[in-house]
């Protein structure tokens, strides 16, 4: 499809709107950009036009309506200023000052960022790399994330602009975690959309920890549609954290797409606390033998928040293991979705996979859809999955109360304890402590129970 093609008749109004925005964005870009980059954006908008916004009839979107996103007129995010108090909370009091890139409305804020480049390690803004060394990222952009039926990823490609590049060369162990912060601040009157892209490549036998944080001005309405592409080379180790703490009125759509080389180890901690509507897809594939994948997830929903996690683990190679634990807590009228698929392909002998999803429902009107799925096309495997959804155990509540702990505190204690095993798995101390504090702030009677959790 050429860039000037007319939208076919019957195309939804919102799709036309995004196409128009793409046209004006595309025209504003420097003519010096490489042809492949223009082609990548054009392919993105074309793919989006073909799919449009999904409805509940789409298999992957059966439990999540994106109608509120579709009908909102988002402007392209422009410059804005991060609210220092919110930014401070988002950055755990600047715990990672040494390795931190802060993006405001999708663009790098150099004055808030500091990431020294040394020993071949790249911690850079994608925009800067595209301007100076586009050939560095060409082999990685859109290689993991693109696939049929992924409208938000297609939009992210169409509006590709800035984001983060974290490249660690072979044989390098990074002692300090790298913090990537994406902050949305209201700019013009219209709600704005940003489409950041993150590329992570961890070289052979290297080790790194990357923390992605998403947040925004309290009460701001905006869309963050983010894509992260990760390549782990043979023997690489990556601890990845994805912390969604957007404004409670925001929309958040994210994709984390990972390819694991031979004997690599990938650990993901995905936490969703914010946003009115949040959808995160994690797609992983074992591209080599003997890899390990650990997926930990936690979400907390209240009021009428809608929080959706889709995970997909592809055992395409033998001797790989997956340990997946997702937990959700919903209160008020909140809704949660967990759809987790583990696919074991015919050649993937000795696959060892365990998937667990547990949900805690704190009110009559809250709801969780849980769909753990194992598809095993091989008989030499050790796999199991389980899902439980329920309320606080009344006997445990009585036990605590019978020792003198008040009812509200007992509820808070059991609720926090439910989440704590996911939190305790977080290896970066500042993240664990910061998240613990934030979870406790969301729960009543926190002061009484702070120390009581294992």
């Amino acid at each position: 499809m050429s860039a000037t093609a007319q939208a076919p008749t019957g195309r939804a109004e919102e799709v036309v709107r995004w196409r128009e925005q793409y046209e004006s964005y595309s025209a504003s870009l420097p003519a010096t950009e490489p042809e492949w980059l223009r082609a990548l954006r054009a392919a993105g908008i074309a793919a989006f036009e073909e799919i449009g916004f999904p409805t509940l009839k789409h298999e992957d979107w059966r439990h999540t309506s994106v109608a509120p996103i579709a009908r909102t007129r988002f402007a392209r995010a422009t410059a804005g200023a991060a609210d220092p108090a919110v930014l401070d909370a988002l950055t755990f009091g600047r715990a990672f000052a040494g390795h931190q890139l802060v993006f405001v409305n999708g663009r790098l804020a150099p004055d808030l960022s500091s990431a020294p480049m040394a020993d071949g390690v790249h911690i850079r803004s994608l925009r800067e790399v595209l301007d100076r060394q586009p050939q560095l990222v060409e082999p990685y952009l859109d290689r993991q994330a693109v696939g049929p039926g992924r409208p938000f990823t297609a939009l992210n490609s169409a509006f590709l602009d800035d984001g983060a590049v974290v490249f660690v060369p072979a044989g390098k162990v990074l002692a300090d975690p790298i913090h990537l912060v994406f902050f949305s601040a209201p700019g013009a009157a219209e709600p704005a959309a940003s489409h950041p892209r993150v590329l992570v490549r961890v070289g052979r036998n290297s080790q790194a920890a990357v923390v992605e944080s998403y947040g925004g001005t309290v009460g701001a309405r905006y869309l963050t549609s983010e894509v992260t592409e990760v390549v782990l080379e043979d023997g690489a180790v990556l601890d990845h954290y994805r912390l969604q703490r957007e404004s409670m009125d925001a929309f958040h759509v994210g994709a984390l797409c990972v390819s694991q080389g031979r004997a690599s180890r990938f650990t993901s901690h995905a936490v969703s606390l914010g946003a009115a509507l949040s959808r995160v897809d994690i797609r992983q594939v074992f591209a080599g033998e003997g890899g390990e994948c650990v997926l930990n997830g936690l979400f907390l929903g209240e009021d009428s928040q809608h929080t959706d996690f889709h995970t997909w683990v592809d055992h395409a190679q033998p001797h790989c293991s997956t340990r997946e634990l997702y937990k959700g807590i919903v209160d008020d009228r909140a809704r949660g979705v967990f759809v987790g698929k583990i696919l074991v392909r015919p050649g993937a002998q000795k696959t060892d996979a365990i998937q667990t999803n547990k949900n805690l429902i704190l009110s009559r009107e809250a709801l969780v859809d849980s769909l753990p799925q194992l598809e095993i096309l091989n008989d030499d495997v050790k796999c199991k999955h389980g899902s439980t959804t329920g309320q606080l155990d009344p006997l445990a509540l009585f036990y605590l109360r019978s020792r003198g702990i008040g009812e509200e505190a007992a509820r808070a204690l059991l609720t926090y304890a439910f989440a704590s095993d996911v939190v305790q798995r977080i290896g970066v101390e500042a993240v664990r402590a910061g998240l613990t504090e934030q979870l406790q702030r969301r729960l009543p009677a926190a002061a009484d129970i702070q120390e009581a959790v294992v």
Partner: protein, 255 residues
């Protein structure tokens, strides 16, 4: 003679619509140890849970006065803060909640209720270490999640340990002896005997005479079909061991 601590009058209670307690009368004074015995299904555990305030255990008639106050009007946590303690027959496993800090929260809730200053971590831990000796409980167990992965004996010891820490005025032990081997039983009994005091009353709910070889009660009651049908001294327990419950009106085949 000390004042009456607990006065149960004509207590009727139902669980899930079934009437289990059909008119229990019981009077307990400070310093006394009472044993409540009876066949399976006689309502022993129901009585223990009703006194502790378990939700869903509905009192349909009768009265319970504790220190002269209406016990049944208090929520479970208030009963605990007023000194009522129930050692559970089946202690609940609570993943993610640390035993020691849960106890600290409980102790401080009790102290706050009595208008005493809260204990800081150091004072609390030294108190805990001292009380742990009473039941010979391993310190590593104290730090683990509440009852999680504990053996049956460890769970029962943990109950007695909690009792030692919370220092109740009325301790109700619901079949603390069941499922224990003789060594664990001795340890638990020693713990209970150490905690006997003129400032405390205890109720031992038990199915077997065995526990009473180690803890000698002042009064023994026999509960049959929701009523106390006989009360007597410690020799009553021996008589029950010999003759069973049928001579007291329990249905044939009662155990």
């Amino acid at each position: 003679m000390k004042d009456t601590l607990l006065a149960v009058k004509d207590l009727h209670a139902s669980v899930g619509g079934n009437e289990i307690l059909k008119g229990v009368d019981l009077e307990i004074r400070l310093g006394e140890v009472h044993a409540i015995m009876g066949p399976n299904g006689s309502g022993k555990s129901t009585l223990a849970h009703v006194l502790a305030g378990r939700p869903g255990y509905e009192v349909t008639r009768g009265q319970v006065l504790y220190k002269g106050r209406d016990l049944l009007a208090m929520p479970p946590e208030e009963r605990a803060r007023e000194g009522v303690f129930l050692a559970f027959q089946y202690p609940v496993e609570i993943a993610g909640v640390s035993n020691v800090y849960f106890l600290k929260a409980a102790v401080n809730a009790l102290r706050k209720h009595r208008g005493e200053p809260e204990l800081d971590a150091i004072d609390f831990l030294s108190m805990v270490k001292e009380r742990a000796k009473v039941v010979d409980i391993d310190e590593s167990l104290i730090k683990r999640a509440v009852n999680e992965g504990f053996s049956g004996g460890e769970k029962k010891r943990n109950e007695i340990f909690q009792m030692a820490v919370l220092d109740p005025t009325l301790a109700i032990l619901d079949e603390t002896d069941s499922g224990l081997d003789i060594d664990a039983l001795r340890i638990v009994a020693r713990g209970v005997n150490d905690l006997r005091s003129p400032e405390r009353a205890m109720v031992l709910v038990t199915h077997y005479q065995r526990l009473l070889d180690y803890i000698v009660p002042d009064v023994v009651h026999v509960l049959v079909e929701g009523r106390i049908v006989k009360s007597g001294g410690k020799e009553l327990a021996l008589e029950l061991e010999e003759k069973g419950y049928e001579w007291l009106g329990a249905p044939a085949g009662s155990r």
